[in-house]
Amino acid sequence: MSSEEESETSVKILSLKDKVEIVGYGETPTSRARQDKGEMKLTQQQYFVWASELAISKSGLVKKDFDGQGLAIAGSAYPHAEIWSAEIAQDLGITPSLLLRSDHGGMGGCALLHQSALAVASGVVDLVLCVSADTPMNITTPGAVRTWRYETEFQKPFGMMGPNSQFAFILRRHMYQYGTNQEQLGKIAITQREHALKNPNAYLKQPLTLDQYLSSRMIADPIRMLDACIPVNGGLAYVVASKEMAKKLPHRDNHVSLLGIAETDNYFEGSRMRPDITYLGIKDSSKKAFEMAQVNQRQINFFQPYDDYTVAVIMQIEDCGFCKKGEGGKFVEQNDITWKGNLPTNTGGGQLSSGQPAMAGGFVHVVESIRQLMGEGGERQVKDAKVGVATGIGAISYGNSLVNSITAVFGKS
């Protein structure tokens, strides 16, 4: 089916296939600001500027090229600045003509790509700098980060401990409905650690064994410490360009094309009041994104699913259609998901092992996709990578899983 045709829901969607290119990326090293261990401690603004400069120079551009262009930033967990993008523009010394902003949680990295692609494809701007940075390790006041009203009013009085607890409900249900087991979850943690060892910017640098995974402490049973991502400070960025602009740039032979992108927000599987929490809207967004890209699962050379928890990877392997629903655990067990396997998954270590720079975490999967398609994966380079998928999921909701989902399909341009 051509993406120009009507989708099943009879809503015309503009195809963004091959309309824009990603022409550069930037990624700072990660840190937990342990100055006693010689780790760097930088502010959020410093990371914003650092990641931006890396992406701009990688693209063969200079800051002033972004005057009159787009600047897209993802929200930060702290300090919740209400007007933040203008501050970043001042730090960078640019005068944009379009400011885009994401408050989509973990979906932010891909959501800004969606917004930027729309802006560039429509001709409003030729370039968008997408950047996010966050410094959760600099926050010293417990409880400084205020979250959703439902959390303060209807969860914390009962001892809910944030996302770890929320994901425990999802994982328990996945285990109950499908028989997903700890060895399968462990294989994800171990594989992504193996990838982190090959990623100079990753934080966790010790090899991981299944015994170590199985003996890591339970936090919110059945969620173990090693099922969760590790918070780090860091910044990431990428540059979206029109086809015309991309042609003028020095590295024009090594750009990445956006083949398909689609999001599904406030998703519920089944009934709104009683959703099946083992599903994500990725089921819907991936179908649309794959249709737009005109690719199928067999053509995907790598998969960078948003990985705040190990079970999220399993859920997305299912919801992206790499296997049937409920068989994600078995899929992981029976397939090679390393960088040299049949479905290389989170090839840079992902947030589980490379680190999650809080609200910038959704950029990890986009940037690793770009890096792989530019052939710059170093020791973890996926051989002959031509098409890859990144996802974002965000907004853990009361009584549901994460309700914002987005899927992006990339190709070598």
């Binding site: 417990p142 409880g143 009203r149 439902y150 303060t152 009013e153 209807f154 969860q155 914390k156 009085p157 009962f158 001892g159 809910m160 401990m161 944030g162 770890n164 607890s165 425990a168 409900f169 999802i170 328990r172 249900r173 109950y176 402490r217 339970m218 936090i219 919110a220 049973d221 059945p222 969620i223 709104r272 009041m273 009683r274 929490i277 009361y398 009584g399």
Partner: protein
């Protein structure tokens, strides 16, 4: 109601911070009644409290309707480690939180106690008067 100062001063855990439209829920809890918003337009329950019905969008005909307080465990977790902003829960560890599916439909998070905690296990509500202002709806294994 007379204020029990000693009790109010010793409860260290988080207390709800009700909004204008969620306050009735806590007021009913204080009377040991479990009530949730119900949409008279589309006949769906609304939980947690909202300014309009997520099922049909209306902000009218929303009433507070009583529930039986009976339900079953849809999923649950055992908290084995507190995070740094919740030290008051340290002495309770390990403790259970269930996502309880009430027999009328809505699902609510709350503490669940009892011997056989399992998915599908039958539970019923009880109220814990933690301060003079707040009674928390909690669940225990049904008889």
């Amino acid at each position: 109601m007379e204020t029990d100062v000693s009790k109010a001063n010793t409860y260290e855990k988080f207390l709800p911070e009700p909004s204008e439209f969620s306050k009735p829920f806590w007021d009913y809890c204080q009377k040991h009644e479990l009530r949730m918003q119900f949409c008279g337009e589309c006949s769906n329950w609304i939980w947690y409290p909202r300014a309009s019905c997520p099922s049909c969008g209306t902000s009218e005909k929303i009433e507070w309707r009583k529930l039986s307080g009976k339900g079953e465990v849809y999923s649950f977790t055992i908290i084995r480690q507190v995070i740094d902003n919740s030290p008051a829960f340290q002495k309770d560890i390990p403790f259970a939180i269930g996502l309880v599916e009430l027999e009328e439909g809505p699902r609510i998070y709350s503490n669940v106690k009892g011997d056989e905690l399992k998915i599908g296990g039958k539970v019923e509500v009880y109220f814990e008067d933690v301060t003079p202002e707040f009674s928390l709806p909690k669940f225990r294994t049904a008889q």
